[in-house]
Symmetry: C2
Subunit: 210 residues, 2 copies
């Protein structure tokens, strides 16, 4: 059985943007402010560092807040995370599902209709949630392409929902823009929380806009 997962406000961590605060400190504050799910992402960390970071984040999370690990299936398994999130360059979803078994969540980044179609063609239960984006171009992921815009995101989210997948939007979402994003089950943020002077207040503002 899959762990509980509320995608309403999904935080993706960024170690550099969180500094000089630690990632666990930012996560703790963000959850207090209303973050409902957390993905540990650090593309520059060694596997060992990522494992230690994931354990440290897990230690500050309530059981009701789902913890995902970006890319590193081995780290997710070892750290007892609730799920894994993979991009198009990471291990393919069917292979990840084979490794993680039926009791963990799997998220997949999709940036266009073709990538979503591949996700929808997988056996039911392979992927649980698709990340759709970028909504707007974003400085934290400059290689992610031009923005889909809220209309493009809503169209992909409707396709995902029709195929039984939940969806979260990602890319350039701020408290000001959050209300513009519709059709998805939740929004993902990175810099809007990790770079905020007060991550708890930033999370509250984002929740207030949904």
């Amino acid at each position: 059985m899959r762990p509980a997962f509320d995608p309403t406000l999904y935080l993706v961590t960024d170690t550099a943007l969180s500094a000089p605060r630690s990632v666990p400190d930012v996560v703790r504050a963000a959850v207090a402010g209303g973050v409902t799910a957390v993905q540990v992402r650090d593309k520059t960390a060694s596997r060992r560092e990522l494992y230690q970071l994931t354990l440290a984040v897990r230690a500050v999370l309530d059981p009701g807040v789902a913890l995902f690990v970006n890319d590193a299936v081995d780290v997710a398994l070892l750290a007892g995370a609730d799920g894994v999130h993979v991009g198009q360059d990471d291990l393919p979803p069917a292979e990840v599902r084979a490794l993680i078994g039926p009791d963990r969540l799997l998220g997949l980044s999709t940036g266009d209709d073709d990538e979503l179609a591949v996700a929808l063609a997988l056996p039911p239960g392979t992927v649980d949630v698709v990340g759709i984006g970028p909504v707007w171009t974003t400085p934290t992921k400059p290689d992610a392409g031009t923005g889909l815009g809220p209309g493009g995101v809503a169209a992909l989210a409707a396709e995902a929902a029709a195929g039984g997948l939940r969806s979260v939007a990602i890319g350039g979402i701020s408290a000001e823009r959050a209300a513009l994003v519709t059709g998805v089950d939740g929004i993902c943020v990175v810099s809007a929380v990790c770079a905020a002077p007060d991550p708890a207040a930033a999370a509250r503002a984002l929740r207030g806009a949904r």
Copy 2:
């Protein structure tokens, strides 16, 4: 039960040094020349690329030639590799053993007495083989420190053997220098084979020197 593993001449792949040839082509030639074990290493590849590379290398290997994957435990499991090799920055050996179970090989890089002592203090059966090095400073891993020299390697190899671990030496080993390396169960090479105009001939020369 662990797979068969002959460490006599252990090739660690390097995608850039192999170019314009493919890594599987270099591996195939090197095995024909006498390589007895292969580790797929590519620190710049995405997880998906590393998975595909590992499958491609596996497809050209005889069952008697053990296949290791560097660092990526998830890739090793998915690709059905015989083992995993981890460095000091990768997932800790006890955790890797928990993930791979008893039927795969685990190698660990050790560069000094302290790192070897940690490996020897692990429960028996955690680590199978330690990589000892660098023997000499090497351009393919400039961060690996100054060379231990053949004497330093032999001393560490004796400690490893006394503790029940097999050992391979790595770092700057060429056909000319291979006979200077003693006390270990095998030698690892990267550039001596991957950068050679004729990888099969290079492997034969290295075997001839052991």
